[in-house]
Symmetry: C2
């Protein structure tokens, strides 16, 4: 659809922001008539929104095809059996939408398609000659967000381009992974979207090596850490970032034995530090987690927060939650607030009974507690703490834990690899994600391929996703002004918005003819031929935000002059039909 | 994607038909590697299948846009509230797939989008100036078929193009309806698909005037009635077709009064007719239905079947089922098999109690029982029938029922409007459907639009659907031979399938260069560069069914000769690269 009139394709502009709109893209896409909420987390793409969506789909398809990815179309509703095979039927929780058919058989409204694509690969891959192969689709996905919000940024139904590659070895996976990184950069470049690619934790996907494409934004739900020196390419999701303290902890041998102090009523590290007049960074913070079969007791420096993602990854425990008070009492023999590694009444790998259930205890120490003396810690006794605690003497961090990093990094810490550069933080919205999955799914689906010698092997796998709605929304987050959206030409529904100013049908007829002329030259133009005031049309032209505006009025009738306005910088110039046709200015 | 090599885009061909495949399109699309079943009623579009799907999507989009229809994208998962508003939450039954979100709120996996689109119209339509408008989308739909089968023909998840138009008056609706009919003809013409457009009953859609686009096929699930004279354009779905008997019933006054006959043990019309030596067409067949609040007793000529769709439409009753024996006994005071209009112990519009529930009785007479004497009918008494029953004397068809037509028409009946032409029947698969919906939904959604004088009115509505998967499958049903599919160029994944016959890498390099040359000239070609025997490649070329095959071997190396084979007629000719580039032969 290159060109159309307002009388054929109606505008859906409105003066009112949706009541629940708090972010720019949600407000502008709604007011400019691109989207409309139907129910919580479910959006209609209105005619202009659909045109933007299709342009983005086409950009993605072209770039994926250019990278020899192969497009397929998988069912949205996927068989529960596939999810049982990968064990994600249980682990995906309530965010995964499920339903039963008329025979009470369970299906999943696919949030992602690793299972489905692995099933496909298991059906068709036989020989190393077919590898590497990278299947992709552009399709609808579901995620039952507790709190859908921000318009297209956090929906329950959304479109993703998701790709899944299969490889004979890691080298091949790395090549495709790098190719996809470049493909994503190309896609976002064509959308004129500034993204940061960021090291990420691969979380529930269960992978090894992954990178997120983030759009820096105050409304982002993820915290990114970047090097303060922008020439240094260090970017990490806070969930993944390594913690390197800017001021080193003091590694010294304590000259005193542990001494028990009465700290009646003081529980938090801050309270006790103030009370004892000790430095908070010399404290040991003890955090106790549990799940259905384990209790994890983590020890970190008192001045920092624990990074639960890094902790889970190290221990391999899923679904850890803060321990209940009864569990704390069972393992420390004291109420909460007084736990510590010295004289802790439980040992690593021992089983304890809490609430009639046997659980295994795991003690996990952050590396920044090693070889330190003068530490302060809870005494595992109500209203008491120890000072002068020495690692290696009063408690011992096992050799295999000597590099454990379970502290949440933050702005002000050092950039890993650069001990004179600090980290700064920013918030970000994830628009794309590339992962090395390894063999998690190819093993689950028992994918076997024959190598050159006829010996069977299990391929390794990568996955690569882009959210289309989020991409559209974040482009608007980055490109707008107080009057409305400012589309890049690559995504704009039309190149030109033609405002006609006429007083009678005779004048209108001249502009109708001009439009027909533009159409015959395949110029992408939206012609606002409504019988409305110039003010209304100018307002809608700015709000809808096509890159160029053509204003035709009495000057055009007099001498063929058309006013061209650049939406981005507001610059105006007078041109003629010939200029448009010949130069497509 | 204009061109690609087998080493980049793998073939998914196989020698085996799916176990459940009984129809040509299911077998060939599977064997040729276009589709793969994931679970019952859910199909993957493999790379070639996806290319066909996208070509069809593009054809439909172009033709819809040409008709000034406006594309949007509605959520697939729709709010149950919308379905309550139209009362289809209850009436759609088990075919409509439903689910609950994490808050136990109900959603529908949309089988169709009248509700959703009416909601959209209610939000945006304000003025007659916005009318007519025709919104469409190309999106996924769900129908929980009891027995999914025939590959893409009867799926549970499928893609439809569905359009919904809104109008100020019937004339405008008729214009768009006619435009859509033409648009559909254009679409099917571009797909080279032979369709019949057939008058249809609009069933659960609740409309007035509709037409189906059917593909004649033995595996069709609908029966079509056509005039034996193909120059006469009468085509109707059996559910809709008017019944006009080829041999008129005798309208005569009986000279005798009704006479009761003992017919012990004879129940069916056929048994009694044989026993009494009376003509079956002089019998009255009595059929008793019921639903939760009504009992409908229908009377038709003994030689015919009842058309329940026409009956429901006339009486306005939904969900009629055959009456239970207890109901029959309640209303006829006899066991089933002996009901009849003469001396029937219940009257029209009277209430009766059956199984502790009050139901209203409705008597419905087919017009072919009017003014007839010598009728034979059950006596409402076990083992007894009456002969010499006279309409107008022994039972009376009310004046308002004098044109009621509730008999199922069939081959051999007369073509309505042509009393010397008979009907013939054929089976058909529905690929498209156009409806005049009227105000059913615009009323339910309280859509109000202001007319020229500022007075508000409710627009009238039309809806127009095409099934994409069915269209693809029926094209294959019509276009194949024993070797495989024969695609029309408009839908084929590629125009050319290039078979290369080489003995060493040096020869292969020549063909690789030829392919690069074709690519540089934007020729749509799939290059089978596999290291397989010529036989394997020829078989796959025929099976996958692109319209033209290019065979390159030693002749090409010797003098640049390429063998061109037309897949449809098998004709071969020798051409050169220049011929392809210049004439795109």
């Amino acid at each position: 659809m290159l060109n159309v009139k307002a009388s054929q394709l109606p505008l859906f502009t409105t003066n009112e922001n949706p009541k629940d709109a708090v972010v720019t893209s949600h407000k502008l896409l709604s007011r400019a008539g691109y989207i409309k909420k139907q129910s919580s987390g479910f959006y209609v793409y209105l005619p202009f929104g659909n045109l933007v969506y299709q342009k983005l789909e086409q950009i993605i398809r072209e770039e994926m095809n250019r990278s020899y990815a192969v497009e397929v179309k998988l069912p949205i509703l996927t068989d529960s059996e596939l999810w049982m095979k990968s064990a994600r039927w249980d682990s995906m929780g309530k965010e995964m939408m499920r339903m039963k058919d008329r025979h009470d058989y369970q299906y999943v409204l696919g949030p992602t398609h690793e299972e489905s694509m692995s099933w496909l690969a298991a059906n068709f891959l036989q020989s190393y000659k077919q590898l590497p192969v990278n299947f992709y689709q552009i399709g609808t996905k579901y995620r039952d967000e507790i709190r859908p919000r921000y318009g297209l940024i956090r929906c329950r139904e959304f479109v993703m381009k998701d790709a899944y590659s299969f490889h004979a070895d890691d080298q091949s996976l790395n090549e495709t992974y790098d190719l996809m990184r470049q493909t994503y950069k190309n896609i976002f470049l064509r959308c004129e979207l500034d993204t940061l690619s960021v090291e990420a934790d691969s979380g529930a996907m269960g992978g090894s090596g992954s990178e997120e494409f983030m759009v820096a934004s105050e409304i982002g739900e993820e915290t990114l850490l970047l090097c303060e020196d922008s020439t240094i390419h260090y970017r990490a999701n806070q969930e993944k970032a390594e913690y390197i303290p800017a001021v080193p902890y003091t590694f010294e041998v304590s000259s005193h034995l542990p001494e028990k102090k009465l700290t009646t009523g003081k529980k938090s590290v801050e309270e006790v530090a103030t009370f004892l007049e000790m430095e908070i960074r010399n404290f040991i913070k003890t955090v106790i987690f549990e799940n259905s079969d384990s209790i994890v007791i983590a020890f970190i420096p008192g001045d920092r927060e624990i990074n639960e993602v890094k902790l889970s990854k190290i221990t391999g425990h899923r679904e850890l939650e803060m321990a209940e008070e009864s569990t704390v009492v069972s393992v420390t023999k004291s109420e909460s607030g007084y736990a510590g590694p010295y004289l802790l009444p439980v040992e690593n790998n021992k089983k304890v009974i809490v609430q009639n259930k046997e659980k295994t205890v795991h003690l996990v120490y952050d590396r920044n507690l090693r070889k330190r003396g003068n530490l302060v810690t809870g005494a595992n006794e109500k209203n008491h703490h120890f000072i002068n605690v020495q690692e290696g003497r009063d408690f011992i961090i096992p050799e295999e834990q000597k590099n454990y990093d379970i502290v949440k990094a933050q702005a002000g810490d050092l950039t890993p690899g650069y001990n004179d550069k600090k980290l700064v933080s920013t918030k970000g919205i994830e628009v794309g994600h590339i992962f090395k999955l390894g063999k998690k799914y190819t093993d689950s689906f028992n994918i076997k391929v024959l190598d050159k010698n006829g010996k069977s092997f299990t391929p390794t796998m990568g996955t690569y996703g882009i959210g289309l709605g989020r991409t559209i929304a974040t482009v608007v987050e980055q490109k707008s002004d107080e009057k409305g959206i400012i589309w890049p030409e690559s995504l704009s529904p039309f190149k030109y918005y033609m405002v006609s100013i006429y007083k009678n049908d005779e004048q209108k007829k001249v502009f109708d003819q001009l439009f027909d002329e533009l159409v015959s030259h395949k110029i992408s133009v939206y012609y606002d031929d409504r019988n409305e005031s110039p003010g209304v049309k100018f307002t809608d032209a700015d709000l809808t935000g096509f890159p160029y505006q053509l204003v035709v009025g009495k000057n055009f009738i007099a001498d063929g002059t058309i006013e061209l306005k650049n939406r981005k910088n507001g610059q105006k110039s007078n041109i003629t039909l010939k200029d448009i046709i010949e130069n497509n200015v």
